[in-house]
Symmetry: C2
Subunit: 363 residues, 2 copies
């Protein structure tokens, strides 16, 4: 028996990104979310498996890109094909969530949607599900809810969410009111946030009634709202053509910036230890991986001699490291990357350089 609450529960998985920081493993046609980066399985597959105990496969919607759509469908056979949908153009999260909300509302005006990035790692799935269940319950009461991650370091790559002093009870499943959203800070500011204990990382995981989101979209991004609200019913013959014509005209903007920062009454759940990582770069994979006594992490056979702190990924091949430290070594059949771990965030620059050289086969 599906409870009344659970009956209206839906998941929107956002899988439109490209993940150039994982080049040469990630390519246009095999982006980060469809790769098995941790060895546990393709990230989008793990994302869905994590949710299946909470949401019927029939109630999961996936938005991705045209290049990835077929690959995603192959990885998620339990989800109805038509619910794995290509955005006609990447327009960031505010329009994508709007499109998802519209599609869900066509089916269930009481839909309460959770929004999940397809390409995050969550090591403790059961803890995550307790949290998500609590968030869905809270959202079903008509609120906008987000998951926040306790900062582990003064990271300058995340948006931060500020809460009133002493309001956070990590892992307690008790929501706290959001005081303010903060853009990616500089290092000094990030350090201050970390010390204060009132800040969480914004993990891009949200819960709200689909109807409430559309209402907020109408106020915050009226042009985008109109384009999405005017689409014919999902599943109708006219839908695909109308989407292709209308969606590219939406604002290209994130939900955080366009909607959440301008909305009162948003609440947050401090995740506690759910083993979350956004897998932002090879450095994140290194941090998650098991390491030998010298701090080397490897997928496949590694032979390390006076080598320490390295991350090697060259499936099916022995990697021999001699005298080197803190490197990323990633091998694929047509491209090989050797980078400093400290430069992991810059790997995307190589993809830009390849684009500049017209080496399309490698993108």
């Amino acid at each position: 028996m599906v409870s009344k609450q659970r009956r209206h529960r839906y998941a929107l998985i956002l899988a439109g990104g490209r993940g150039t920081r994982f080049w040469p493993r990630s390519r246009k046609a095999s982006a980060k979310q469809v790769l098995d980066l941790t060895g546990a399985g393709p990230l989008i597959r793990l994302t869905v498996e994590r949710l299946l105990p909470l949401v019927e496969a029939q109630n999961i919607l996936v938005l991705t890109s045209g290049e990835l759509c077929e690959a995603v469908r192959r990885l998620l056979p339990e989800i109805p094909r038509r619910q794995i949908l290509a955005e006609p153009a990447g327009r960031n999260t505010a329009p994508a969530i709007g499109l998802g909300a519209k599609i869900l509302l066509d089916r269930d005006p009481q839909a309460v949607m959770g929004v999940f990035p397809a390409d995050h790692h969550i090591g403790r799935a059961a803890a995550f599900r307790r949290l998500a269940s609590a968030a869905w319950r809270e959202a079903a009461r008509g609120r906008m809810v987000l998951l926040g991650i306790e900062p582990r370091r003064p990271d300058t790559g995340y948006g931060y969410i500020e809460f009133p002093k002493n309001s956070l009870r990590p892992g307690s499943l008790e929501p706290a009111p959001v005081a303010r959203f903060r853009e990616k800070p500089d290092l000094a500011t990030a350090r201050r946030y970390l010390r204060s204990g009132n800040f969480l990382w914004n993990a891009g995981i949200f819960f709200w009634p689909a109807a409430l989101y559309m209402e907020r979209l109408r106020e915050c991004l009226p042009e985008t709202y109109s384009r999405i609200a005017a689409l014919p019913a999902f599943g109708s013959r006219r839908f695909p053509q109308a989407l292709a014509e209308s969606f590219p005209g939406c604002d290209n903007i994130s939900v955080d910036y366009a909607v959440l920062e301008r909305t009162q009454g948003v609440v947050g759940l401090a995740a506690g230890d759910i083993g979350w990582s956004d897998l932002g770069s090879f450095e994140a994979l290194y941090e998650l991986a098991e390491k030998d006594a010298a701090g080397n992490a490897s997928r496949g056979d590694l032979l390390a001699l006076d080598a320490s702190g390295n991350y090697a990924d060259a499936a099916g091949k022995v990697v021999a490291l001699l005298g080197v430290e803190n490197l990323i070594v990633v091998d694929t059949p047509d491209a090989l990357l050797v980078a400093r771990r400290a430069d992991a965030q810059r790997v995307g620059e190589l993809v830009k350089a390849l684009e500049g050289r017209g080496l399309k086969a490698l993108l």
Copy 2:
């Protein structure tokens, strides 16, 4: 018309080594001498082509290992098959040259042999040939002649040859008497040698009458001499079996140590600039290679971002280097090496480690 002198000219090419410092490119069945390490061709092929204007192909003898024999024969189709011979066991240069001398003497008691490593690089072939011709002429007068290379740096990896003060005229083709052989020196000693101007590197290239070498071998290594001198005639039915039984009992020792250091009247020719390198390691390949503005050398496509002083060899693959300096990156289908250039001499240690792990397929 072949001149009288040239008629007795023979070349012995020593191709028995393994070259583990070029792993993973070098393997037991594709050792350094059969590899195209510089991009100009397999080293042994280049060695023979360098000599062919001076010596008939019929007069070239190659000693190699059982593992490499067929590969060497394929690379040297102009040399009669039976003159490309596998030593039953590696016994260093003194016995190998003895075996070569014996085989040549069976054919021509007046044979004057040049001895050449199969795996050196010589950039200026014409200059080398002028020098080798002069050396053969000198050897035909009944002398033991060696080529010496002017030191370019205080290298501790070579044997040095000392000459009387002010006796060396590099590139003059005038032989000078050897005063003394010096083992691989420590750095301070090597610096002193370099400053003095009286020292040359021993390049392992020798010229002498085959009969004179056998005479010296009889005095210096009588047991080895007896084993070799007692072999049946080369080409006879009994030769292979007798060689297989007798040769492994020879002393395992170098010609420098066993014979040259104990022989009076050896002369040397200072090579001048013949572009010599023994290609001792990937570092030597880096030094020879063309480099980009940041000092990166690469075989194949290289994409370097804030990367300098690196050597990359990954044929058929783009190598992307980000933020790394002074590395060796060598890719093969089943093994990938990343090492500091400063550790180039230590690459052989990896091969030992693989042997220790029983990873025979990679040796």
